[in-house]
Amino acid sequence: MITGVLRRMRVNVVDSSDSNRQRYGEVIETSSARIWVECDQLNDLPPLGALVQVGSDAGDTIFAVVAFSETTGIDATRRAVRRGSNDVRDADVYRQHPELSRVLRSTFEAIPIAFERDGRIIYVVPPVPPPLHYSVERVAAVQVVRLTDRFDYLATLARYQGEIASEQIMISHVRAIYDTRDHDRQWLDTAAAEISRLYASEYDRLLPILEAIDPGEEPAGLRIVR
């Protein structure tokens, strides 16, 4: 795992404007199995299960699924303390302590699941990890649809071991994509079938996933194909 060196030699400057909303943040740790991203804006985190993308030196675009997020002090030795009170709470705490936007940071972990090269999407862990300090951006809806037309990458998600159980990531991801795909019921049924195949021998893990991704919009339940 490569970690950014000398990151603190020059601390980031003035309040960034809203002009670059496409970008979530920047890679600050990278490896074949996961990337760690620091967000430009405090608390501006992609939701669990969302797709993000980052470029590479070779010109590839790497796609990753958000698997974990946190907001903590930028310095591991400084812990957050209570700042508010009954009278000053929530958003007001940030107004009264403007330095919080500088001394706290939001970061998230994402699992690389595919990459695009020369217009073709290849569903395998990228050959080389995304470079440090490269921008991590939102994936356009049309690109999300294109990516999720196939389910090859769900196996990588199912096998992932991190702080959050992979089932939770799977559920969050499927629900997010279902929304982006405008409640494409056919897609959801196929995804459920694929997930059933992945967890075929683990009924106790499978059922909660299927229940959670069931949108409950139609009386018919999900078809479980074994």
């Binding site: 000398l6 030699m9 310095d75 303390v81 403007p98 330095e99 936007s101 001394v103």
Partner: protein, 393 residues
Amino acid sequence: MTLDLTRLSARIDDLARGSDSPTESFSDLADAFDAIDAYDLTGRIKEARTTWLLAQPGHVFQGALSAPASPAEYSVVASDGSFILPDRHSPARFFIINIGKVVLRYGSDPHAEITADPEIYFREHELYVPNEVKRIPVSGTLLGFKRAAEELTAVAEVAADQPGPVIGLQDGTLILWGLETFPQPVVTWILEAYLGALDALQERGIPIASYISSPASSDVMNSVRVSVCDYPLNGRPVDCRDCHQRALQEGHIPACDFIPDVTDRVLFEQIVDLRPGERSQVFASRSEILKRYTAQHHIHFFYMHSGTEIARVEVPHWVAQDAAKLDLVHAAIYDQCANGRGYPTALQEAHEVAAIRPHERRAVEMLVEEALARHGHDYRRSAKDESKRGRFV
């Protein structure tokens, strides 16, 4: 060998036992304090022959003033510096000063900027101050003065860009204690930059103050001693040396003997009993180096209750004599202490961003090594240093 803690612990116990706080009676001190007449004291101080540092009162000596309401909108600009020192064992001659700068704006448009600018000094004229006989290396205390000048300059520059009301804040003192012991070229070199920054702040009407947590100073207490001296009653100036001689030779008991040997902090906490937010009257410092400051920058000070402790706040004369500026400093500092759980937030953040971590020092060493190697210089540290790095049995 590891440190023998067992052997030390018994002695440490003796240390703690001997540190019982003295059960002083402060009622005499309180009476003496209340009896002081500022004009009389000023006259005594003018003539006094004493080696102790004395605080010069204004028109009034006593009193506690509450903090004005904190302004709804204000900005505070603070800086702090840290350095990587010139290393005798390294073949490369340089030092680095890292200046942390913080802007905190409160009110309708809250905002924060936290940055750090490192500067590396390696040229001949940066490492030595030319003097008549020999050049003086910028190290030790002198490096501290250089840092102080850089810190103040940074505040002056950054504060100029902020919408008002703004105050500048520094950690520690505005008095360059001990600078007067250096040769004139060094004094000029430092003061040019330092007073230049004060000039810039004054020109823009931006009050500057420094904040000293847990101050150890006693100049006000020393003035209390001068106020009770009996020499003036006999038509003589206060003369501590003469009095001390008489004490040794004749068994004379100094008139100020009943004054307990405590710091100003104790005086304002226990006798004046400053409440949270309250400050004392303003006093002028009579530190030797201030004779070289331009008159409007003569440093004055007051003590205040930060909410958790008695602190000393120093300001230049042009701030002390301007009621609006003084009130802004007083209110803003108290607000910053409340905000920062007992210590001004802006100073905390400036310190954090300026601090250089051990791994960063090592990174700098590495960069220097690599650069020297790239340019064909043989990088060799001293034999002593090598013996510490590669310890063997």
